[in-house]
Amino acid sequence: MEGRSVVRFLRTRREATVLAMLVIVFLGLTFASEFFLTGRNLSNVARQISVVGIVALGQALVIIAGGIDLSVGSVIGLAAVTAAMVSAATGMPSLGIVGAIAIGMAVGFLNGVLVTRIRINPFITTLGTLSIARGAALLATNGNPQRFDNWAAWLGYGRIGEVPVQFLLLVALTLVVAFFATRTRWGRNVYAVGDNARAARLAGIDVARTRIMVFTLSGSLAGLGGLLLGGMLTNSNPNLGLGYELDVIAAVILGGVALSGGRGSIGGVVIGAALMGLLRNAFVLLNVSGYWQTITIGLVVILAVGADSLNRRREDD
């Protein structure tokens, strides 16, 4: 990119504002804490970003397609216990991995079918499956945490050198999903469907299939998220992921995806997740008081998006 287009990028893209914000927080932390720029801490941050980031990739596609997926938090919990229980029952960790992703895929597919075939609003559909998936996780385990300590769990806790495996997965998946979104027909169709579903359909796009696909993807990635979270803790609690949906959606929107559909980039989403993770790390490093943490998170979310809005006034409405 030449100089001019860098400036243009910064002026026109929401993810640029968040990237700027990320850089500021990063520099601030470098000066504020001697421990921030240690390999160990960066590795912690990388791990803390990963699950939210991975789940946000799928959520981003759903939102770009004009939907929303509130069920991801519960799917994380359900997949985590599925991974642990399937591994334990079969003695085969690989089946645990398959199970976690498959159960997420199934919930996502169900969401997609309810939204497109029965035509239930996505917010309502996934609010419903949020409850159902959590209930199922509790029912399956009787509320008991499940030991999950095998090579499948290694995906969650393992490191290669200093780098968490989770983070490598995030990086790889980001590349794959970004490629999917920008360079494949199905990915471009996701944007078209979210932008104007009616026009997309008349232009020959199978809208229902596109929507089912993104929900299924989002569910699968949430399933993977559950596997990683359970693995990281070497313990799958049915309550894992409780409330994650709001964090994930915040990351997606921080990253520049429009809640109204049709707009947003995958790279931005990961930047959004990184900003949220960095803040949480800052709280611990700088001993920020509990109540101020809550307030700060709120302020940053508003600031990041607000700075961007002031920068570029919308032309519409």
């Binding site: 421990f35 996780a137 803790l233 894992l240 709280f283 943490q293």
Partner: protein, 307 residues
């Protein structure tokens, strides 16, 4: 070394563990705890007292606040941060099983680790674990309830979060005991109130309406004062009593009023204070403590309790 006398603030919390003396080299301790309720506020008092007490003894205590959301990931991230910052010792409330691996990692790295209030159900290699044994506390509650009922009657159970180990253990400790020892006691519920007062209030109200023969409402976590308020509002004071946890100031009026029969207290301030002092003694003097320090579950009785 001579024990350093405890300050009044610590005595008020019921603390008995004293420092063996000042540390030779400067020590840095990290304590990690949550915020958001009067329970954690009470725990904070112990942290503040220990911070003041240990400062002249060459030990600094840094309080890493974990915020208001109790999750395993938050605790793990907090411990990770403390390890990064190379503290000499760590004290926290590792309430979830998901913290076991991280605690073990800290101990393996040579950082003594003290758990207070609630340990994970699965045992970690933590240096010391102090706190109530939730299942046994539940059993104590069950025995108390059975005594109040004379072995016969009906109780309703309102639990905090289903799947939260401590809440489940308190629930099951009581229910397993009652089912085994007192089959004539009928159990209604459990109902999950997610530590929300308004929900607990409604559930208590509805339970009394649909069970005119109800005698006790057993609340395993947040919401016991709301349940007591429901009893008062329903005009059932003296007929229905609440058994719950944590003897906190806002519940006093219901103990006095007779709606709360008993509260099992955990002395959170004492636990945080003693955890930090133990860490100091371990690091500065190589003192050894038992790996498990059970904290009794004393019953703070209300006006209407049968002793």
């Amino acid at each position: 070394a001579a024990e350093v006398p405890l300050p009044d603030a610590a005595k008020a919390l019921g603390a008995t563990v004293a420092a063996e003396g000042p540390s030779e080299k400067p020590l840095r301790l990290a304590v990690l705890s949550f915020q958001g309720s009067s329970f954690w506020e009470a725990a904070d008092k112990g942290i503040a007292a220990a911070t003041d007490y240990l400062k002249p003894l060459n030990t600094t205590v840094d309080y890493i606040q974990l915020g208001t959301g109790l999750t395993a990931e938050t605790i793990v991230a907090g411990i990770d941060g403390a390890l990064t910052k190379q503290y000499d010792g760590i004290a926290t409330v590792p309430i979830f099983d998901g913290t076991v691996a991280k605690v073990n990692e800290a101990v393996a790295a040579g950082v003594p680790f003290v758990a207070f209030i609630a340990d994970s159900a699965e045992r970690s290699n933590r240096t010391v674990g102090m706190g109530q044994l939730a299942y046994d506390a539940g059993k104590t509650a069950g025995a108390f309830i059975a005594k109040q009922l004379g072995g016969k009657g009906k109780i309703a159970v309102i639990t905090g979060y289903l799947g939260a180990a401590q809440h489940d253990a308190r629930m099951n400790g009581a229910l397993d005991y009652l089912k085994a020892e007192h089959p004539d006691i009928t159990i209604v519920g459990p109902f999950e109130c997610k530590d929300d007062d308004a929900t607990a209030y409604s559930q208590a109200t509805d339970a009394m309406t649909s069970n005119p023969d109800l005698s006790v409402i057993y609340v395993t976590a947040g919401g016991s004062e709301a349940a007591a308020k429901a009893v008062r509002d329903a005009g059932q004071t003296g007929k229905v009593g609440v058994v719950g946890y944590d003897d906190l100031p806002e519940k006093q009026q219901y103990k006095d009023g007779g709606e709360i029969l008993a509260l099992l207290d955990q002395a959170p301030g004492r636990q945080t204070f003693e955890s930090l002092v133990m860490l100091h003694n371990i690091l500065a003097f190589g003192k050894e403590y038992p790996a498990d320090i059970p904290v009794a579950a004393p019953l703070a009785l209300g006006k209407n309790a049968k002793p």
